[in-house]
């Protein structure tokens, strides 16, 4: 269980994090989203006890990170931004050090080391200095360090940054398999990741929480949600198609993309219009190549929300 209450952090005169409050329970995977410099990393550092908040409080499993830092940190696995490690050490020595400091016995350590090495596929590099490893391996050593003691709470700052698509997929699988029973917070700026692993997303801009919902609910906010796009053959009369679509009762708006030969119809009140449009297309014998029902576009929601907040700030 993570509880953040009214977290504020100011650097000099600048407010980096402004009154952030949320709770995350077991089984939840919270995605922390936001533009660069929005305050994601600072918030996570406050949760992990690296940065002291200017105001507000944070708790890990009921332990105040301020008053009982050692007990709170014992429950926490934390991957700092950039996955710093000790470069001159080998992953084996590095993980042994982490295990010692976390109070694992030799037997526990052997068992846990075997587990994380298998999960993160570190076997082949276990005895090479970390600084000689590729970026992907370094990131995975950082992840191994965070999950070595099988903590109930995991805070991972950009866990997939710098990984190739296969490795990203593996790390997401790892997060998914660990998720039941654990509290996991990840920050990312890759929106598909939120959709792929998170049960909940918080969007933060200028230090404030501007959205806190399930990813599906966020996607429903998109103006593309339930929109239908038609891709037509080059012989089609796009203007006529657009005109006919616009005349349908359920259609609010139509957009024509000439170079792509695509017409997109946006429904009123998120109504499902795909079958009606299909019927109309058959009736009018439109030369349809593709008919596509849009779920919604997370990146568009993200831009809308964060841009609106920035605009409000500046005016």
């Amino acid at each position: 269980m993570i509880a953040a209450e009214g977290l504020v952090k100011t650097f000099g005169g600048r407010t980096a994090v402004d009154n952030v409050t949320f709770r995350v329970g077991p089984g939840e995977v919270l995605g922390f989203l936001g533009p660069n410099g929005a305050g994601k990393t600072t918030t996570m550092r406050m949760l992990a006890g690296f940065v002291a908040p200017t105001a507000g409080r944070a708790e890990i499993c009921g332990y105040s990170i301020d008053a009982q830092p050692v007990a709170a940190k014992q429950k926490l696995g934390y991957l700092p931004e950039g996955a710093p490690t000790y470069g001159e050490m080998t992953p084996r020595d590095f993980l042994r050090f982490i295990g010692e400091v976390r109070g694992l016995t030799a037997a526990e350590f052997r068992q846990r080391l075997g587990d994380v090495v298998e999960r993160l596929q570190l076997e082949e590099v276990l005895d090479q200095p970390i600084e000689t490893l590729s970026k992907g391996f370094r990131r995975r050593v950082g992840l191994a360090q965070a999950i070595l003691h099988d903590p109930p709470v995991l805070i991972l700052d950009e866990p997939t940054d710098g990984l190739d698509p296969n490795q990203k997929h593996e790390v997401r699988e790892l997060i998914r398999t660990m998720a039941p029973g654990k509290v996991i917070v990840i920050s990312t700026h890759i929106l598909e990741e939120v959709d792929a692993v998170c049960t909940r997303a918080i969007i933060i801009t200028n230090g404030r929480i501007v959205a806190d919902e399930e990813p599906a609910a966020l996607i429903r906010r998109s103006r593309y949600h339930n929109a239908v796009s038609l891709r037509l053959q080059h012989s089609a009369d796009l203007a006529a198609v657009a005109h006919d679509l616009q005349n349908m009762d359920e259609v609010r708006e139509v957009e024509v993309d000439n170079p792509e030969f695509t017409v997109t119809a946006f429904p009123k009140d998120n109504a499902l219009i795909v079958s009606a449009i299909g019927a109309l297309a058959a009736e009018r014998r439109w030369p349809v190549e593709q008919l596509h029902l849009e779920a919604g576009r997370l990146d568009e929601v993200f831009r809308t929300i964060t841009a609106a907040t920035s605009a409000n700030r500046t005016t």
Binding site: A52, V70, K73, P80, E100, R102
Partner: protein
């Protein structure tokens, strides 16, 4: 205690994983020998004692200890590993003490490896071995004082070169606090008792007392206090600046 030794062990491993420890030890031994035999006139004096050896230790430490201390925290802050260390279940004191003890142990190893000169002097004559033991203890304590100062300066900034230079300057002031070089600077405007206080901070005075074989509790306490105060300052500086 377990955590402190884990942190210390890791730190010491990293000294020996890089050339740092070897370079330090070799240079220390080479310079110690050079000073003793050429500048100190070890043979020419015709006396069976190690004062030409110990007399040069403060000057050796003045440059060599800051070189080891400069990376203590500056490097952790620069590489970002300080964030990792500080989010492990350790207290600031455990981290500061663990790293300090590792560096001190490295210096102790270098100091210990000067034993051939002790063997030599015993072979050549009949020195007072009690004095030599006391001088070794005093030398190690003084190195600890220099190191604690360096630890604090290293925590205050992430640039190792700046750390080195500042540490050398501050160590120099502490070393010569009892001499006119430093005292003249204060004598114009500091009242007498405070001037005496400054003078009593001198590393050299306390070290000289111990290395003559007078292992006075006050001198030992002085160095332990210097170490404690500067390490305490390190924890405060770290707490304020670790995330900058």
């Amino acid at each position: 205690m377990g955590v402190i030794s884990s942190i210390g062990k890791r730190e010491l491993q990293s000294y020996f994983a890089t050339p740092l420890a070897y370079v330090f030890i070799v240079i220390f031994l080479a310079l110690a020998g050079l000073f003793t035999f050429y500048l100190g006139g070890f043979y020419e004096r015709g006396q069976a004692d190690l004062s030409p050896f110990f007399n040069f230790h403060p000057w050796l430490y003045l440059f060599l200890v800051p070189a080891i201390a400069m990376r203590l925290w500056a490097e952790e802050r620069k590489s970002g590993s300080v964030e990792l260390l500080m989010t492990l279940p350790v207290t600031l004191w455990q981290a500061v003490l663990g790293k300090f003890l590792a560096a001190w142990l490295c210096i102790a190893i270098a100091l210990g490896l000067t034993f051939p000169i002790w063997v030599t002097v015993n072979y050549l004559g009949e020195p007072d071995n009690g004095v030599i033991v006391a001088a070794y203890i005093g030398s190690l304590l003084m190195a600890g004082g220099f190191l604690a100062i360096g630890s604090c300066i290293s925590a205050a900034n992430r640039n190792q070169v700046v750390s080195f230079i500042l540490t050398v300057v501050i160590c120099f002031l502490f070393m010569l606090a009892g001499f006119s070089l430093v005292l003249d600077f204060f004598s114009g405007w500091l009242p007498g008792p405070l001037l005496d206080a400054v003078a009593s901070l001198s590393f050299l005075t306390h070290y000289a007392a111990i290395s003559k074989g007078v292992l006075d509790l006050r001198d030992v306490l002085y160095f332990l206090l210097v170490i404690g105060v500067w390490l305490y300052a390190t924890t405060i500086v770290l707490d304020l600046k670790k995330a900058d």
